[in-house]
């Protein structure tokens, strides 16, 4: 049974109470993107300033829960000063970390009551990988190096055990991707 400490690691709470890079940037030269979480109605705003293929500056606005806020805060700290290339890699790794693996949904992640309820309810237990936020069929475990590359963000690993909150953790990253597209004028 996953406890609250799996979800709310100390570092998460820290970023939640002391969000980094909170604010706005002037648009232009920066671009501004907003992302919605349709489940809760929360919104993340990302201001992004690129220079020579590098994240020159980033600021975070909007409102959300501790998970989306801390994810945004840690993300901003991580990507600042990195290349667009690197940011894309981080995004991939982060999403991979949060993809739901075979067995987790009906299995060890779930509360006791879930196990009861899925017992005998047909083929439920084998289908974890197709559900929710797992569009990536190549879902796999992260390597240690990959995990380490995420820094503080590794603390969000426990979110997989709380499927409804995965969208919270992804919200800033999806918004960042959007703003990259906008800033680069592609897509």
């Amino acid at each position: 049974m996953p406890g609250l400490e799996d979800l709310y690691r100390e570092i998460i709470l820290d970023h939640y109470s002391n969000p980094r890079n909170r604010g706005e940037l002037e648009v232009p030269p920066a671009v501004r993107s907003e992302g919605f979480n349709p489940l809760c109605g929360d919104e993340t705003v990302v201001y992004l300033l690129l220079k020579d293929g590098m994240i020159d500056d980033i600021a975070i606005g909007g409102r959300g829960c501790s998970i989306s806020s801390s994810s945004a805060s840690m993300m901003s700290a991580l990507v600042k000063g990195k290349s667009v290339e690197q940011v894309r890699d981080f995004t991939k790794i982060f999403k991979l970390m949060l993809s739901v693996h075979e067995g987790t949904l009906g299995g060890d992640h779930s509360h006791p009551i879930s196990e009861n309820a899925t017992q005998n309810i047909g083929p439920a237990r084998e289908l974890g990988q197709d559900l929710g936020d797992s569009p990536d069929p190549s879902a796999r475990l992260l390597t240690d190096d990959e995990l380490a590359s995420l820094g503080d963000l590794a603390a969000l690993q426990g979110v997989v055990k709380f499927p409804v909150r995965i969208k919270c953790a992804l919200l800033p990253w999806n918004t960042l991707t959007q703003s990259l597209v906008e800033a680069l004028g592609t897509g």
């Binding site: 049974m1 406890g3 609250l4 979800l7 709310y8 709470l13 939640y16 109470s17 489940l39 809760c40 109605g41 929360d42 919104e43 409102r63 959300g64 829960c65 501790s66 998970i67 806020s69 509360h111 006791p112 009551i113 009861n116 709380f162 909150r165 919270c168």
Partner: protein, 420 residues
């Protein structure tokens, strides 16, 4: 913080009732399940589950056409459910005026697609309220996109009541008013009779969203005086997969068909069809048969308890919850909606410190306490309240003082956990 616990004085015996709800004796995270989310969906008594099982195990068959015994019996039960549900809300002619749908949302859409498309033009106005659920907003927006009419909103005041001071000017040009009988966020029991009177005096019809009303208060469409009324089974002890529309017989009779298919026709030729009589005209395809039978049993359960008793219980329990939350958390908690429990249904929405409602709900879950966090499908209202979400505890027949205390305890834990 010694709880203010006192004996309930109303006649609802929650202890006895809880025994009828198998889910309430399960454990969540090692804790007793404290279910405070009945406004999203109520739990189901064993009687409802048994009625459906019994139906499937003894007499299931498709309805309305079979000449054999079990099919006739299925038809009788299904039609009986219609009458039982109709009587429960005071329908004058339930056998023709109750249309079973899949939920309350479909029922509003039926009125929008059928009545709306036939009666609204781009010079008309549909008047809603700022506290409507999306179910009574979006169908009108979809229609407005196609027909080009205007949608207006009756504002709410700071206490969460409808502000009717400008109602006369708001009503100008209005052909239809959509109003909730009880808000799923503020709890407000709206004063619809007055509004309906005024709407009728300018020739507008009124559709009432009774989804949060029917489970909690005695409802009578004739006394309310509305023209259409919708509600949903799963919030009133019934199963998922069923809701219903009541409409005045003359209105329904004049309305064109909505969904096409089996059951709703009298004749089909290659070049067209003749619709069936009411209520079948609006029930295309195989209906939710077992669900109607489950809903009939749910209504029987509510009637056995007595809606007046249920109401008395909820006023008492909601009053207790309001008192306890205010006395424990004072200015740290903001409770939305009317402060008088007489004016509220079973929901208590609040903001607590600057904690995000989803985080509150997550902490409460670890204590076995289920509340809902979010926009509650009322985003326009969220914008009026200037929040992105609220936490909402909602109370029903199986809840008691101990459940309210569990909520209070959980909020202390959340406060401590985030330590902000």
């Amino acid at each position: 913080m010694p709880p203010l616990r006192v004996e309930m004085t109303n006649s609802i015996d929650t202890e006895l009732i809880q025994k009828d709800f198998p889910i309430l004796s399960t454990q969540v995270n090692g804790q007793r399940l404290v279910y405070l989310d009945s406004a999203a969906s109520s739990q189901k008594p064993i009687q409802v589950l048994e009625a459906m099982d019994k139906y499937y195990s003894t007499t299931h068959a498709n309805v309305h056409r079979g000449v054999y015994a079990i099919a006739e019996n299925a038809t009788n039960l299904y039609e009986r459910a219609r009458v039982v549900v109709g009587r429960f809300i005071g329908a004058p002619n339930p056998a023709r005026e109750i249309v079973f749908t899949k939920n309350a949302t479909e029922a509003v859409n039926l009125v929008a697609y059928s009545w709306g498309r036939a009666n609204l033009t781009n010079s008309d106005v549909v008047l809603l309220t700022e506290m409507e659920h999306h179910a009574n907003i979006v169908p009108w927006q979809i229609l407005a996109q196609q027909l080009g009419f205007e949608i207006r909103f009756i504002p709410i005041d700071r206490s969460g009541y409808l502000n009717l001071s400008e109602i006369d000017s708001l009503l100008s040009g209005v052909k239809l008013v959509g109003v909730t009988a009880s808000s799923n966020v503020l709890g407000t029991i709206t004063e619809i009779s007055d509004l309906i009177g005024r709407a009728h005096s300018v020739g507008a019809l009124v559709i009432v969203d009774g989804a949060q009303f029917v489970p909690h208060l005695p409802a009578n469409v004739q006394e309310i005086g509305c023209d259409f009324f919708v509600a949903t089974g799963h919030k009133m002890l019934g199963p998922t997969g069923i809701g219903f529309l009541w409409g005045r017989e003359t209105l329904l009779d004049a309305m064109p068909a909505f969904l096409g298919g089996g059951e709703m026709i009298c004749d089909v030729r290659k070049d067209g069809f003749t619709p069936n009589d009411l209520p079948y005209k609006f029930e295309a395809g195989t209906p939710p048969i077992a669900e109607a039978i489950g809903l009939m049993e749910a209504v029987a359960y509510l009637e056995k308890l007595g809606m007046a008793n249920i109401r008395a219980h909820e006023i008492e329990l909601v009053g207790y919850a309001l008192d306890r939350l205010k006395s424990e958390f004072g200015k740290s908690i903001e409770i939305f909606g009317p402060s008088n429990p007489q004016d509220r249904g079973g929901v208590v929405s609040f903001s607590f410190k600057n904690l995000h409602p989803h985080d509150i709900s997550q902490i409460l879950d670890s204590e076995g306490v289920c509340i809902r966090a979010g926009h509650h499908c009322a985003k326009p209202l969220m914008r009026v309240l200037d929040v992105s979400a609220t936490a909402r505890a909602s109370l029903y027949i199986y809840n008691d003082y101990a459940d309210v205390e569990a909520l209070v305890t959980g909020l202390y834990k959340a406060d401590k956990f985030f330590g902000i």
